[in-house]
Subunit: 533 residues, 2 copies
């Protein structure tokens, strides 16, 4: 058992300069948890980033194997926290044990996946254009480039994934994999869990001989801490998962620096589902059950939670709605992440109840207990004109609430798809024939989302190479980049080009002999062969 | 011979709504050129972008071969403009004929290079993770993704490359290659040349059966036109090459939209050269001559023009400075791109002449003729304290002026390297032993530049796969992306992920059979093989 101290972890030191303190609370009881945490001061933030900047040279020059090993030892150390980590997570988030254990597996699996990804090595996109000294009218130089780490990265953890998208989440491990030191801002709703994870990472860094400053973590509940991290001159990139409001404020701060830096924010979305006629004919009841399961998974607290469902008015659509109402009844209310999120959810549902043209068609039979920050499942129904007159419905409400829109025609579906803001996902339920017939709808969705799901559900994202977790704004601040899956490493690198550089001084992946045998583009052709001249 | 009309080219129509007109001028005479151009109105900008948005579906669904062919026919049509294009370019920019012909070759070569790049096809980064329906505790879905075009792109041409970085430059052809319609803002300093190029592209689009709106071009000399293009709701990305001031204003506009969009600006840089002791010992005179050639190439009007040269105080450094002074004398003054750039250059050199600690050590023997907007070569010298007291020297002055800084110690070199803002390039002259000995300096430069050149010069960029033309801000607005070389296509795509999607409806590059035989990552392994199950 580690004894928690609540201090910032800045390189090898702990620090606690500020008098401004806070504690986390158990959302299912409302009780404060014992450890006292402090706001980071500007001086503490400066020390963390200065150490990170100093660590950058040594860290980026570690061997690939050493960095891969570091990722694996981090995973080992997180596992070594044992039940203390699980209990802390449960206490601070209201997540049940199974969820916590599963999420820990995702986090450690993700770190080990990046270790393998580094060892394979081709991700660096090495490109070599060989020289032609005799070319006319001008000689062609020797030009080589590969992806190179950007420098110190600031990571903002998410409240809803305290293990897989937080201190030891995809942001941190992909930045480490790239060769970037990391300064994490601990999430104020689960700071104790953050401390445990941070101490595991620091233990791993020490065991692996990583330079001091490769990892630091500061606490803070105020906007000031986040803004200072983003504005610090040594910060070269930041990653964030959270609300649109918080994300946009930090994005604006990053953009208005004297030298703007990329702020990779994943800010959630409405994740529409389209139930097409073929699917409704075949399985309207299964669809209803599946939809409610997806909607209530994790108490609806997923970035990919489905907030809108569209279908064409029909008898089958009616029975789908009845089915969702039935399934919603059986969905037990459950504790949300913290009182603030619970409050926003209750307020959001209240607003919807006041909207004209919107009918509450289904909700959990058991009432939610506000003292336990519980949310009940709510399903509303409206029609095309109801949606047109309530455009707020296109905005995400975090939690288990969704609106089913009965449309009069395929043209309605296309109209509403066109009105969607950028979304992480869109889901189609249908037959293969539906998909071909509704090609116009798909054409619209392709422009608006990052992931298209067929006959599945958007929640429960697979961590793999092909995954894309991002999309046009506001799903992501920059739609090229993902925050989940191996492509997320590209947020923390940039191409560095070497022209006429001698072999002995080139990064090894650009040397003629290709010592690691990675895939490279040589004069436009992909090959793992060494260059022989 | 095409007769110029000076109107905006909006899809298949020309338009000329505004009464606000302007003309370009021949910088070598100051005389206005005959064609009258107009500011684009908001309505014209809206029509161009609406057409582009409408064209997006059909354009992105063209076959790879059709899009490659379109790029080649564009190149053919640009060549078919013949001497009219060369004469127009010469008249509007003051560039000599040889430069114009060479730059046209670069532009058409670049378009044909992208055609081949499309045909090879692996650039789409197709990734497939195969399903495992029986996996415990949860089945693994079928997840596939590839790079997908983002939508209508706005392109701002550069004044200094009217053929290779303008209407038909790398931005436009890479956007076309990606499958994005393009709206160009013609450069007001060479609008006639822009009209010729735009009409060639429109002819090619017609010959290739491309949808109306795949390309439009509007004119404008005021900031309002640029801002309206960047703020238009249908614009999803923009590319810009130009000044820091202009670029930052448009970047801020892009970032402050309700939905921010990426604004890919390349805003130039100071491009330091470091002459290390071994190189000075071997060839100080050659270095001096090579440096002045690079400095005066294209009248110093390159983004990669070397604005600062660093070396250690020594006898050889003294003879290098003397050599540059000698070479500068023989550099003939030449006409700059336009009166505005000439004015800024004269003002910048004037400011330097007033700086204490700075000595003018070399300049063109022949005086520059201001009536011809001519710039003379100027080389200043200073020492470490001179640079410390004049930090403005870190800012780019566009034109053939540079400062040689004699440093007292390697620590000075590292100090100044640390002070550099992001730069497109840094150049080292030295022996291989120098490079190993000055590893600390290289470590600093790696963090600050996009391209490191050894024993060469930064000007005269090679258009190839490995090239990177970008760097930390202000070299680029986003250092991940390049504006030259095949990687520049990644500015105009984003990953699109298909989960559980039926084979018949997948993009062909994601289908099991891999019809084009591109390189794909299947379950983490790169292969060109089809998937057989």
């Amino acid at each position: 058992m580690l004894e928690l101290h609540g201090n910032h972890l800045i390189g090898h030191q702990t620090s606690a300069e500020s008098d401004q303190t806070f504690q986390s609370a158990n959302p299912s009881t409302g009780e404060s948890l014992p450890t006292v945490f402090r706001e980071a001061t500007d001086a503490e933030i400066d020390r963390a980033l200065t150490l990170a900047a100093n660590a950058f040279v040594a860290f980026r020059q570690t061997s690939v194997e050493d960095r891969a090993r570091f990722l694996e030892v981090c995973a080992d150390e997180v596992e070594a926290l044992g039940t203390q980590l699980i209990e802390s997570t449960m206490a601070e988030t209201g997540h049940p044990e199974g969820r916590c254990v599963g999420e820990r597996g995702r986090a450690t699996g993700q770190s080990r996946m990046f270790a393998q990804f580094l060892r394979e090595g081709s991700w660096v996109d090495a490109r070599i254009d060989l020289p032609q000294p005799d070319r006319q009218p001008l000689p062609k130089p020797d030009v080589r480039s590969l992806m190179f780490p950007v420098g110190p990265v600031v990571v903002f953890g998410a409240s809803n994934f305290p293990l897989a998208i937080s201190v030891f989440g995809a942001d941190t491990v992909s930045a480490f994999a790239a060769g970037c030191p990391v300064v994490v801002k601990a999430h104020p709703a689960h700071p104790a869990t953050c401390e445990l994870l941070a101490r595991a990472i620091l233990t791993a860094a020490e065991k692996c001989g990583m330079p001091e400053g490769v990892f630091s973590m500061v606490h803070g509940r105020t906007n000031a801490v986040g803004l200072a991290l983003v504005r610090h001159p040594e910060t070269v990139a930041a990653a964030f998962t959270g609300s649109l409001r918080g994300g946009r404020a930090l994005l604006d701060a990053a953009n208005s620096r004297p030298n703007p830096i990329p702020f990779y924010a994943e800010m959630g979305s409405v994740n529409p589902i389209f139930v097409l006629p073929g699917a409704l004919k075949e399985r309207s009841q299964d669809l209803a059950t599946g939809f409610i399961q997806s909607l209530t998974l994790g108490v609806g607290q997923f970035c990919t939670n489905p907030g809108l469902v569209f279908g064409l008015e029909s008898e089958e659509m009616g029975s789908f709605v009845n089915g969702t109402a039935e399934a919603a009844k059986n969905a037990a209310p459950a504790t949300m992440l913290h009182a603030g999120i619970h409050h926003a959810f209750v307020e959001g549902v209240g607003t919807m109840q006041g909207m004209s043209g919107l009918t509450l068609v289904g909700q959990s039979n058991t009432p939610a207990d506000p003292a336990k920050s519980q949310a009940a499942c709510h399903v509303f129904e409206t029609d095309a004109s109801g949606l047109r007159s309530n455009p707020e419905l296109y905005e995400e409400i975090f939690g288990p609430v969704s609106t089913v829109v009965k449309c009069a025609s395929p043209a309605d579906l296309e109209e509403f798809a066109s009105q969607l803001e950028g979304s992480l996902t869109a889901t189609i339920h249908g037959t293969e024939e539906d998909l071909a017939e509704y090609r116009g709808l798909i054409n619209i969705l392709e422009k608006r989302v990052g992931r298209l799901i067929f006959n599945g559900y958007p929640t429960g994202i697979e961590v793999c190479h092909g995954m894309h977790h991002g999309g046009p704004y506001p799903a992501s601040a920059h739609s090229y980049f993902t925050s989940i899956g191996t492509r997320c490493i590209y947020r923390f690198v940039r191409p560095l080009c070497f022209q006429g550089w001698p072999q002995s001084q080139l990064p090894e992946d650009l040397r003629d002999e290709n010592p690691r045998g990675i895939l490279r583009m040589v004069d436009g052709t992909y090959t793992r062969d060494p260059i022989t001249r």
